[in-house]
Symmetry: C2
């Protein structure tokens, strides 16, 4: 049987909240076995951006990564946030090694084609080109990769990439060798049945249940792509995906039915 | 015989000059055998600092790393500069992996004691605690570490540390396993006999020659600590140290007497 690899993704709300982040780091450090942490950005980039007088560029409600924004997200995500997390993990005896997608070429990507919107320096990951070997060498030598949401085009250009996508692409890619469990941790208790009730977390989502939830418009619009991606990752090799509160990571790992939403095809 | 390890340090003037940096990256990529790149900061941190309205704090002419400055140097050194260099090296088929001293715990340090001056978040490296093993695992698996001048106190606090010191501490530490050659690359052709003549580079400095140069006040004040540190590194195991122009790296590596200043005890 394949060895289990836990890939945990934390979002901006966890990073922005120091108490939440520190308690998460403590729990993450205790996870047994192979593990990877993928982190998002948080408000820090926006704050630093505005203190530098760089105004976020938006087109049709979508954020554009122009050259100035790329510099800022590289600094903040791969520098400040990544190194803070690594230093905290090291202080918890977890042998963290912080990486962007350029480091060890772990996340080669292509600059998104200019269609109706020019997103700027945004990278779409080339799933088939992911360099598993380097990540595997790191994992098998006891390192815990901590990955910032920055990729590169392998020609010297850094790119901005969504952290959720990074987590699922890595999960799919590494499922050739490992039994991959993917955990999306944020500030809610799971996928909610009723957005106004934080305790209405759905226990289990299968493709069939997902169809019903969509048909009955039970889940919020923002959740649909997350669940679609999760099911896609499972179809492509990931063992299962959990979505839940960062404080319930251990419980999700123990398959506690009261913690988070489990997404699976079974 | 021990395998040779080349440790190359580039200073701020190389980083600030895009043409110089790109040609250096190209040359560095071609170096055969095990290698490490250590980089300094450059003007970028000062520029970003001033664009954010953070005024550099100076006491008795010395720069102080207060909390705001530490955030900026972490972002700029370990984020922007480090990832730019890594992406460029990767585009030259060099399997670079960018690291701060917190990553894989490669540079544990202690916050400098407050004496007559409180330097703030400045780290002095604990030479005896350097974690050789993690760096060796990376080197022996074909990775090329690219190290930013940020360390950590192993209790979660990042610290600002001089890049020259990092290069020599790593050199000494790794000399237990490798034949370490240390290259300090900057914008001058070497240690100059006459500061006004850029072609007056001194070919060889031994401890005896160094004493004569100091006695005759031939070398500039700023060079004295650099050479003292180089001789100290050699006394503690480093094979030899070169100081020279970044464009002459290959020539220094080929022991060309017309390139750079060679510092040795022989």
């Amino acid at each position: 049987m394949k060895e289990t690899l836990s890939i945990v993704k934390i979002g901006g709300n966890v990073i922005d909240n120091e108490t939440l982040l520190k308690s998460f780091i403590h729990e993450f450090s205790k996870i047994k076995g192979l593990k990877i942490l993928v982190h998002g950005g948080g408000k820090l980039a926006t704050e630093i951006s505005s203190s530098m007088g760089v105004i976020p560029e938006m087109i049709e409600g979508r954020r554009i990564t122009n050259a100035a924004t790329l510099e800022i997200v590289t600094m903040v995500y791969a520098g400040l946030i990544n190194k803070r997390i690594v230093a905290l993990l090291q202080s918890n005896n977890c042998n963290a090694i912080g990486l962007s997608g350029a480091d060890a070429n772990i996340l080669p990507a292509s600059k998104r084609d200019v269609g109706s919107i020019d997103y700027g320096f945004v990278g779409d990951i080339n799933q088939s080109e992911l360099n598993n070997n380097n990540l595997k060498v790191l994992l098998q030598n006891g390192f815990v990769p901590v990955i910032a949401p920055i990729t590169h085009d392998t020609k010297g250009q850094l790119l901005n990439t969504n952290a959720d996508t990074i987590a699922s692409c890595l999960g799919v890619s590494l499922s050739d060798t490992f039994r991959v469990k993917l955990y999306y941790c944020f500030e809610l208790k799971g996928v909610l049945q009723d957005i106004k009730n934080e305790n209405s977390s759905i226990e289990l989502i299968t493709p069939e249940i997902f169809l019903q939830l969509k048909a009955s418009q039970t889940i919020s619009k923002g959740m649909i792509p997350k669940i679609t991606n999760a099911l896609e990752a499972i179809k492509n090799g990931v063992n299962c995906v959990y979505i839940g509160h960062v404080n319930y990571l251990n419980k999700m790992m123990a398959d506690d039915v009261n913690a988070g939403t489990k997404i699976t095809v079974i």
